[in-house]
Symmetry: C2
Subunit: 555 residues, 2 copies
């Protein structure tokens, strides 16, 4: 690798820009490639039947031998959830802090990738040396412990990535955002800063996690019966505060929901969660205590239909039936897109007669810094160039505005879309092109095999259903032998539409006979004649457009 | 009809409670039935392919000869949108104020129901006399002109319905909520009040529409290029304020979008909208003016994919291409459920480079009163009984709390679900049962023919698609003659899954031969054998569960 090449440094995002989710940022020094995070995104409404979405990692696959590793900022799904899929295509070492690796380990174990993956523990004071750059870390505050920002020290200066952060002066775990290290980075010279844009549109400061603890304690003290409290499992600080409030009010805690059980288990094993002796009980044991002695800590704050809280709301939870004396606390806000399902769940929860606390009290605070915190980070880092990342376009734009306010040159701010490359040479930057990028859809075991055609068909099928028309035709005599048989799904309720389907049958028979009398030999023409006739007839009668699938069996 | 029967008055909601939408409230005096409003609801996420939802009006159909008419409070879709469907089943007179009837006329004309429907203009000072009750009206403020509340003067007292309302002391049209009339109703004696719960969870007051006018004017004065402003078409007050701001800033207004054109047309013809001479231009004419002289008033504030603003965002609008110098104003908030589509549209609008004003400025205010206004209404009406309506369960509950605060007895408050009957006898009320009620789904020309089975099939089809398996079998020899032919849609991308489908074909052939060797004669057993084998094989290979439809052609 020539010196010249090494002096061209490419920075781009494979995910996380122009969207919320599947964060993946890449620094390519020419000699080596450093990947930061490997997240997933939950499917959008139009991605019917899709389980999750990950970034297109073609660039990494094609340059596999130059990839030094995937450096993780923290253990949220939008930063680590893509690992099981990405590592199968890009088997490289993974770097993370202790809690991050703890949660990644569980994930890779489930995926059968634990043995084949090299996991490297980050000690945040160490500086990792590679050929073309050094990598160092700094602690930041976020809604999960052990979150870090990453600094890649290149020949042209530092490329720094804040990861998800806010500035919390009273952190639950006593671990502050490391201003000293950030100042030292600024001193060394930050060529380019990538920073979290999630709350760039929000004025002011986000507020400390500790304020939530006081609110939770107030609710616990006021509640006369059981308390059911839902939170993100990964928010270990929140979980800690629930444990503290329970201990203070002499309540036992039963942990409910698969991911909550997992996180409480791993976090307490690794020392990130301190739980008083005898505080935890099982759900069954909880039933032996009187109501005012019980807290049930559960998953399902997003109204996910299969999660524990939703099942309680629907009265289908096997162990927990809500009572009017219960207090249900949702200590989270809906992620954009989940508003409707959360609202529906709240409605059902209220109908049980329980007191539902959601929205009114301050039982949740964001993990992402607002405008003042983002400006503070920019002021501390003093970057020459700036890339607002981790957010939709409008958030990136709002972040750009904040950066200009604190003195970053407008021309030095790059709002990039997925795959857009910003190239640095001799300390100067410009956009130079694109690398392959996009949404890779995961459906069951299929990664990337679902494309627009399949999605378009699912959309059509979901709107007006399908009508299958089968006929058997003699190869020799070219006569109709059997059928037409018409079967539909998702179109009309068959029993009430016998006349319609009968008439459709006659229409198909007529058009087939006409075609065959005209000696039409190509099945494709025959099929499109059937499709057109039927489509027109059904639209006229029902104003619906089911998918029509003619099948000709030749014997 | 005996006196005794007449003295049992039933009040119930066929829609509008436990939900937002399809408002329809019924007062049955025993002798006569008074229906208030006939709204529609937009389909919820799980109602795949459904166009709109209306209430079940079985009760009205079965008691058709006793229905005096449908009395409309105002011309919003959730109050009048069901009329074309309901009037076909329940052909009764319709009563409404002038603007309401103007908009209803256009709707009935489109539906071919104008000639067959008796439309009666309400003069708000008149009192209509029926056999068992009188009906009077009072003006209220709302986000459409000519909105009224309804009072049904029965033998036991008044049943009053506020309709949608807020209290605006500086209304755009000078038409205040008629406190005098409301006080007079209280004096006469309000037996039961039905009141709008939409904003019951919001503290304080909603604020006047006029404040929006000032914000709009500020934006118009600051904008350097064209202004594109989106609003609900029916919010004639808002439209008026846009016209005013345009006139003041020497801009011409081009009206865009079908419903906006229709409302501007009807409202100005009826005198509800005052437009300066020469203010309006066509879109084509607008192109002849310099950018700073142009306002485009458009539909699409909810991100509806086919509406004008969305088409501009997607660059598919035939006449309007956005420019970086444009200012786009969305003078509305997303209706619950539309948050995601609005956010996506805003993102696309911003990417055009235009300045997008949404959320930050106060260019929208709700048409529904908040807590203080709701308490004010309760205090003025002094009802003996109270039914919070027009809202989800949590809003009804919040409204109940407000009513208790202002002194309504808790036992005298009825939170009803659809169809639940509150019966009044000798001035006392109790819940006495249910009338038929529910969601009637409209899909194309079908009203109510889509049930759970069709929706379940659409859901299944939308998740993993469908696989059709066709075989031809000889009736006599009981042998496979042709096939199996396997065709799929929405399952896998066929070209990349040849091996999978080939193997599936072999599996089907094997199971069929096995069945026929065992002399299995029933097609249904044969089919379920094929379905089970295939389902298991495909799930194993893909972790997907397409719908499998085996078809046996017998010759």
């Amino acid at each position: 690798m020539s010196k010249q090449n090494r002096d061209k440094i490419k920075v781009f995002a494979l995910g996380g820009v122009g969207e919320i989710g599947k964060n993946m940022y890449v620094v390519d020094t020419g000699e080596e490639i450093f990947v930061m995070d490997s997240g997933l995104m939950f499917p959008q409404e139009e991605m019917l039947g899709i389980d999750i979405v990950i970034p297109d990692v073609t660039y990494l696959k094609e340059n596999l031998e130059r990839v030094t590793g995937i450096f993780l900022t923290h253990a949220h799904e939008d930063h680590i959830g893509g690992l099981p899929y990405v590592l199968r295509q890009v088997p490289v070492p993974v770097y993370g802090t202790r809690l991050t690796l703890g949660l990644v380990e569980a994930k890779l174990k489930e995926a059968g990738l634990l043995r084949s993956t090299e996991l490297n523990l980050i000690e945040t004071n160490q500086k990792l040396s590679f050929n073309s750059a050094k990598v160092s870390f700094f602690h930041v505050n976020h809604s999960i412990p052990d979150a870090v920002g990453i600094a890649i020290h290149t020949s042209q200066g530092i490329i720094a990535n804040t990861g998800d952060f806010k500035i919390d002066h009273t952190p639950i775990d006593g671990q502050h955002t490391e201003f000293g290290k950030i100042s030292a980075l600024a001193e060394e010279g930050v060529l380019c800063l990538l920073s979290d844009s999630t709350n760039a549109e929000r004025p002011g400061s986000t507020g400390p996690e500790a304020q939530v603890g006081q609110e939770i304690l107030d609710v616990f003290q006021a509640a006369k019966g059981r308390i059911i409290i839902a939170s993100f499992a990964s928010n270990v600080h929140r979980v800690q505060q629930v444990m503290n409030a329970a201990a203070k009010t002499n309540r036992k805690v039963a942990v409910n929901g698969r991911s909550m059980v997992k996180v409480v288990d791993i976090a307490s094993q690794l020392g990130y969660l301190t739980i008083e002796k005898d505080l935890l009980v099982t759900i069954d044991q909880a039933n032996d205590y009187s109501d005012e002695k019980v807290v049930i800590l559960t998953t399902g704050s997003q109204g996910e239909s299969m999660a524990a809280l939703s099942r309680m709301a629907q009265k289908s939870h096997k162990q927990i039936a809500l009572r009017p004396s219960d207090t249900v606390v949702i200590a989270a806000t809906p992620i954009p897109g989940n508003e409707t399902s959360v609202a529906k769940m709240v409605d059902k929860l209220m109908r049980t007669g329980a007191d539902v606390i959601f929205g009114q009290k301050k039982v949740h605070v964001s993990g992402h810094g607002s405008a003042e915190e983002l400006k503070f980070m920019l002021s501390m880092m003093k970057p020459k160039y700036f890339m607002p990342v981790h957010g939709e376009y409008k958030m990136q734009k709002a972040h750009q505005k904040l950066a200009i306010e604190v003195g970053v040159e407008k021309d030095n701010i790059f709002i990039v879309d997925k795959g857009e490359v910003v190239e640095f040479a001799n300390g100067f930057a410009q956009k130079t092109g694109k690398v392959p990028s996009g949404n890779v859809l995961v459906d069951g075991l299929g990664v990337g095999d679902i494309g627009n055609i399949v999605l378009r068909d699912r959309k059509l099928l979901s709107q007006d259903g399908i009508l299958v028309v089968v006929v058997t035709i003699s190869k020799d005599s070219h006569k109709l032998i059997s059928g037409p048989e018409i079967i539909s799904r998702g179109f009309v309720y068959v029993r009430e539409s016998e006349a319609l389907l009968q008439e459709a049958n006659t229409k198909v028979r007529d058009v087939l006979e006409k075609c065959m009398n005209e000696n039409m030999k190509e099945w494709s023409s025959l099929k499109s004649n059937v499709r057109d006739t039927l489509s027109q007839y059904l639209f006229e009668k029902t104003k619906r457009r089911p998918m029509i699938m003619p099948i000709i069996m030749e014997i």
